[in-house]
C-alpha cells in the first residue's frame, strides 16, 4: 500500500519549464491522494506558468490504460516541454517510459503503508521476508512489529511497552509476549531456537 505526498511547491515550480502538461492519477485516490491540495496548487501553477493541459485519470501504472487515456491529448503532449506527474512512483515511471524523449517529472514522494496494494490500509504489515516467523510469535510479525526487526526477543530498550526507536510505537516483542501468555504458549519463547533470517534470496527455493 502506498501513500503519495506532494513535493514542496518550490520544488515543483522549478520543474515546470516551458509548455507543461500535468497528469494526475486518481486510481488509488480512495487510498491516498492529496486531491484538494494538488488541485489548489495546480490552479496556482497555471496562473504563473505555461500549463497547457491538466489531465486527471486513473491507473496510469497500467501502460495500456495510460496510452488509451492520453490518446486524445496526443497533440498537446507532443508539443509540451515538460510533463509533471502527480502519482506514486510506479505511475511516474510508466509515464516516463511511454515518453522516453520528454522530461517527465515527479511531483510526489511515495511512502509505504501497511498492507499490500488494492486493499484498505491494514493495521498489520508483512515484510515479505520469505520465511514466515508467525508460528513462534502468536501471529504477530517480529519483522514489522519490532522497529529493529529482531527475531530473537526483546532488545531491552523498551520503556513501559513503548519502543526506544519510536516512542509512539508499541514494543513488538512485548506484544508477542502478551499474546503468547494469553495463548498459554510462553514456552515457545524458551525452547524454539531463533530461525536465522536468510537475506539472500527468498525466491531461490
Amino acid at each position: 500500500m502506498l501513500i503519495t505526498q506532494l513535493k514542496s511547491q518550490e520544488a515543483i515550480e522549478a520543474l515546470a519549464q516551458g509548455k507543461t502538461v500535468i497528469i494526475n492519477c486518481h486510481g488509488c485516490k480512495e487510498v491516498y491522494f492529496a486531491e484538494h491540495e494538488a488541485d489548489a496548487f495546480q490552479k496556482e501553477l497555471s496562473a504563473n506558468k505555461e500549463v497547457t493541459q491538466i489531465i486527471t485519470t486513473d491507473y496510469i501504472c497500467n501502460p495500456d490504460n495510460l496510452k488509451l487515456q492520453l490518446k486524445k491529448h496526443t497533440d498537446v503532449i507532443n508539443a509540451a516541454d515538460t510533463i509533471l506527474v502527480f502519482s506514486c512512483g510506479v505511475g511516474i515511471q510508466t509515464v516516463a517510459a511511454l515518453f522516453e524523449g520528454k522530461k517527465v517529472y515527479s511531483c510526489c514522494d511515495t511512502y509505504p503503508l501497511p498492507g499490500f496494494q488494492g486493499v484498505t490500509p491494514l493495521n498489520v504489515d508483512c515484510g515479505q521476508c520469505g520465511e514466515c516467523y508467525l508460528n513462534g510469535t502468536g501471529g504477530i510479525c517480529p519483522i514489522t512489529a519490532c522497529s529493529k526487526s529482531l527475531i530473537n526477543g526483546q532488545c531491552g530498550g523498551a520503556k513501559e511497552g513503548k519502543c526506544e526507536v519510536d516512542k509512539n510505537m508499541e514494543c513488538g516483542w512485548e506484544r508477542i509476549y502478551r499474546k503468547l501468555e494469553k495463548l498459554d504458549k510462553l514456552d515457545n519463547m524458551k525452547y524454539d531456537a531463533p530461525k536465522v533470517r536468510n537475506y539472500n534470496n527468498p525466491n531461490a527455493e
Binding site: 480512495e30 501504472c61 512512483g89 503503508l113 504489515d125 515479505q128 514466515c132 508460528n135 510479525c141 527468498p202
Partner: protein, 654 residues
C-alpha cells in the same frame, strides 16, 4: 500470465516440525490476489492437509476465502465457521492474512506458508515497474528510471563500474540501471543536468510510526464510517450549489411518459384533441404499485403515442400536450386542509391521487410506502445527495425548508411514525444549519449530519448509518421499521396538501464541467432535455456524455429528444469516459468498496459464463447498482452492466 502470488507453502520439513505437537487442526486458505481470475478454487489446502494427515493429524475442517486480509469481511465470514473442537488454526496465505486471522481468533494461529516479494508489488496494474516507496523520489534527476529499484545496489550517484555490456555484475540477466538512466538522459540532452546536480543522500529514517498509524486509522475509519465500503468521487458541486432556483421557461410541448415510476405504467384517460388544464389528471394508476399522472401545462393533447424513454432508451407510451401558454389551473388544484384536520388515510389518499412518487431516482409510489403493513418507527428524509455534481436536493433544503418539514410531518402522521430524521451530508453545512434552526422546537424531528461518502443516499446504507440496522437480504426498509423518502418528495407532499398541486414540476440540476451555464431549475415534467441543454448554453467539446441523473447512476443519453421525468434530478454533461476492459486481476478493490458487502468480481466472471446459479449464490439480487465497483475497477470492467445481465436472467427464471 505471470504468477504474482505472494506466498508459497512452507517446506515439508518445516511443516512437519511445526505440526509435531499440534492436533485438531482447522485449515484456512486465501484464494490469492493479483492473479488472473480463471478459477475460484485456488489454494492448495489439499497439499497441506496431506502433510498433516501423513502425521495422523485430525483435521476438523477447512475454509477457502477471498481476500483474507479484508478484516471486516473476514471476521463476518468466520463468525460461526470454526468448530468448537478446533484447537489450532493453520493459515495458508501471505503474512497479512495470517496476522489478520491471528488477531481475530482466540486460539493459536499458525503460518502454513511463507511470503515472498514479487514484481509488480506496488501500483494497481500487474506491472514489472517497481517503486520502493523510499519517500524521496529520485525520478526527477534520472529521467524517470528509478535508481533505487533498477540498480541492484540502489546507487544514487551513478554507475559502480562493474557492468559489462550493459548488464549488471550482480545479476547478469539484469540491465544496468545507471546505463539505462545515462542513455535516457543523453537522448533528452540532460547529461549536464545530472553532472551538475549534487547527490541527494538517501534518508533511511523509518517513516514516522505515528504519522503512518494515524493515517491508517483515519483511512479505515473513513472507509467503515456508518457502513462498510463506499467511495469519495470528486464532487464538482461547487459548479452549481450556490446558484438559486429559477423557473425554467415554459415549454411549448411537453411529452409525458406513462412510465415514470416503479410498477405498472399509468393508463391514459385523455385522447388526442382534448383540452387539458394544468394539474388535471391525464392518466390513472394501473394497480396498487403504479401512479397517476397529471398535465404539467394547460393546452391541447396532440398525441398519445410511444416516444423515446430516457431510462429504458426504448419507445414507450406518452401523452404529448401542446401548451397554450396560459397555465390555466385545473379545478382540482385546491388546498386539502392541514395535517391536524386530515386523517392518516386521507393524507395517503392525497399522496396517491396527486401522483407523488420517490423523486430521488427510483420513483417508487410514495403512497405504497406510507401504507406500510408493518409498524413504522421512523420516517427518514434523505437529503444526502451523495451523487457528485447534483445540487437539486441542496437547493430544495435551502429554498423550501418549511415545505420539506411540513411534508415530513405529513408523512410521519400518514405512516404512524413517532419520529422523523432529516439526514444531510456534511458537504451542505448551510442547509444543516438552516434545518437545525427550523426544527429546533420540534421534538420528534432530528437532523443527522452524515460524513460525506458515496452511496450514502442509497436507502439501505442510510438506514445502516442512521439507525444502525441492516435491511435483510431481499427485504425493504419497512422490515426494519423505516420509510426513506427524498426531500423533494417531502416538498411535493407539502404542495399536494397545502396547495392541492399534483407532482407536475421538480427541481433539476443542470451541471457538469462540460455544461456551459450550470444552474438549478424548476422544470415542468415532460420538458425536453434538449431544450434545457440548449437553454444552458449547450455543452463544451465533442467528447461529452450527457446523463440524466448523477455521474454514478445516471442514464447516458445518445439522443437528447427525451423528456424529464418525476424522478429525473439532474442533467449533467461530463467528459466521455474511454475505457477498454481487460481481464480481472483480482486486486480486490471492488470487494473493498462494495457497500452491500458483495463480491463483484464473481459477477463479472459469471455473467460471461452465463452461470446464473453462481450469480444467485453470490446474492446478485442484493446489488444496488451504485457503481462503486466499476468506478474503482483497475481492469475497467463494465461490472454494473454485467450485473444487470445477471439480474435480468434471474428475474426471467433462468
Amino acid at each position: 500470465m505471470e504468477d504474482y502470488t505472494k506466498f508459497k507453502l512452507k517446506r515439508k520439513e518445516e511443516l512437519d516440525a511445526v505440526l509435531a505437537d499440534k492436533n485438531d487442526l482447522f485449515v484456512v486458505a486465501c484464494n490469492k490476489c493479483f492473479k488472473e481470475l480463471d478459477s475460484f478454487d485456488e489454494p492448495e489446502c489439499g497439499l497441506f492437509e496431506e502433510i498433516a494427515k501423513e502425521q495422523g493429524k485430525n483435521i476438523v475442517g477447512s475454509a477457502q476465502i477471498d481476500f483474507l486480509c479484508n478484516e471486516p469481511l473476514t471476521s463476518k465470514a468466520f463468525q460461526d465457521l470454526i468448530p468448537q473442537d478446533a484447537k489450532n488454526v493453520f493459515v495458508i496465505s501471505c503474512g497479512l492474512g495470517i496476522q489478520t486471522m491471528a488477531g481475530l481468533l482466540d486460539i493459536p494461529v499458525y503460518a502454513g506458508s511463507d511470503t515472498v516479494t514479487v514484481d509488480g508489488y506496488h501500483g494497481m496494474a500487474l506491472t514489472t515497474t517497481l517503486c520502493e516507496a523510499c519517500g524521496q523520489c529520485y525520478l526527477n534527476m534520472t529521467g524517470g528510471i528509478c535508481p533505487v529499484v533498477d540498480c541492484s545496489k540502489s546507487l544514487l550517484n551513478g554507475q559502480c563500474g562493474g557492468a559489462k555490456n550493459g548488464k549488471c555484475e550482480v545479476d547478469k540477466e539484469m540491465d544496468c540501471g545507471w546505463q539505462l538512466i545515462y542513455e535516457r538522459l543523453e537522448k533528452q540532452g540532460r547529461l549536464q543536468e545530472l553532472l551538475d546536480k549534487p547527490v541527494e543522500l538517501r534518508d533511511y529514517t523509518k517513516v514516522n510510526h505515528k504519522f503512518v498509524s494515524e493515517y491508517v486509522k483515519s483511512v479505515r475509519e473513513e472507509r467503515y464510517e456508518g457502513y462498510y465500503g463506499g467511495i469519495h468521487p470528486t464532487e464538482f458541486k461547487e459548479l452549481s450549489e450556490h446558484i438559486g432556483l429559477v423557473p425554467f421557461p415554459d415549454p411549448v410541448n411537453v411529452v409525458i411518459p406513462m412510465s415514470q415510476h416503479a410498477g405498472a405504467p399509468a393508463e391514459p384517460i385523455v385522447k388526442v384533441g382534448d383540452q387539458v388544464k394544468m394539474g388535471q389528471k391525464i392518466a390513472q394508476a394501473a394497480g396498487v404499485v403504479s401512479s397517476a399522472i397529471h398535465a404539467s401545462v394547460s393546452g391541447t393533447v396532440v398525441a398519445v403515442e410511444p416516444r423515446r424513454h430516457p431510462v429504458s432508451g426504448l419507445d414507450s407510451l406518452a401523452i404529448v400536450i401542446q401548451s397554450d401558454g396560459k397555465n390555466t389551473l385545473d379545478e382540482s388544484v385546491k388546498p386539502a386542509g392541514d395535517i391536524d384536520s386530515l386523517s392518516a388515510d386521507e393524507i395517503i389518499e392525497i399522496v396517491r391521487e396527486k401522483g407523488i412518487v420517490g423523486m430521488g431516482g427510483a420513483g417508487f409510489p410514495t403512497a405504497v410506502k406510507l401504507k406500510s403493513p408493518k409498524p413504522i418507527e421512523l420516517v427518514l428524509l434523505n437529503a444526502c445527495e451523495c451523487e457528485p455534481i447534483l445540487t437539486a436536493d441542496h437547493r430544495v433544503l435551502l429554498e423550501y425548508a418549511d415545505e420539506v418539514i411540513y411534508g415530513l410531518k405529513a408523512m410521519m402522521k400518514a405512516s404512524g411514525a413517532p419520529k422523523g430524521v432529516i439526514a444531510i451530508e456534511d458537504n451542505k453545512l448551510d442547509a444543516v444549519e438552516l434545518m437545525q434552526a427550523k426544527t429546533a422546537d420540534i421534538e420528534n424531528i432530528e437532523i443527522v449530519v452524515a460524513k460525506t461518502k458515496y452511496p450514502q443516499g442509497a436507502e439501505k446504507m442510510l438506514i445502516k448509518r442512521v439507525m444502525g440496522k441492516q435491511v435483510p437480504s431481499g427485504g425493504l426498509p419497512m422490515d426494519v421499521g423505516a420509510i426513506v423518502c427524498n426531500v423533494s418528495t417531502a416538498k411535493a407532499v407539502s404542495d399536494a396538501i397545502q396547495l392541492g398541486m399534483p407532482l407536475i414540476e421538480r427541481v433539476v440540476t443542470v451541471s457538469g464541467n462540460r455544461m456551459n451555464k450550470p444552474g438549478n431549475y424548476l422544470v415542468k415534467i415532460g420538458t425536453s432535455v434538449k431544450d434545457i441543454v440548449n437553454h444552458c448554453g449547450d455543452v463544451k467539446g465533442d467528447d461529452v456524455t450527457v446523463k440524466i441523473g448523477g455521474p454514478m447512476m445516471g442514464f447516458a443519453q445518445a439522443d437528447l429528444n427525451v423528456p424529464m421525468l418525476k424522478c429525473s434530478n439532474g442533467i449533467i454533461a461530463v467528459e466521455t469516459i474511454v475505457k477498454e476492459a481487460v481481464e480481472c486481476i483480482k486486486c480486490g478493490r471492488c470487494m473493498d468498496v462494495c457497500p452491500m458487502e458483495l463480491r463483484p468480481l464473481y459477477f463479472t466472471k459469471f455473467a460471461l459464463e452465463e452461470n446464473w446459479e453462481g450469480m444467485k449464490a453470490q446474492n446478485t439480487m442484493d446489488c444496488i447498482e451504485c457503481g462503486c465497483c466499476e468506478y474503482i475497477c483497475s481492469s475497467k470492467i463494465p461490472i454494473v452492466e454485467r450485473i444487470k445481465i445477471g439480474k435480468t436472467a434471474i428475474r426471467e427464471g433462468k
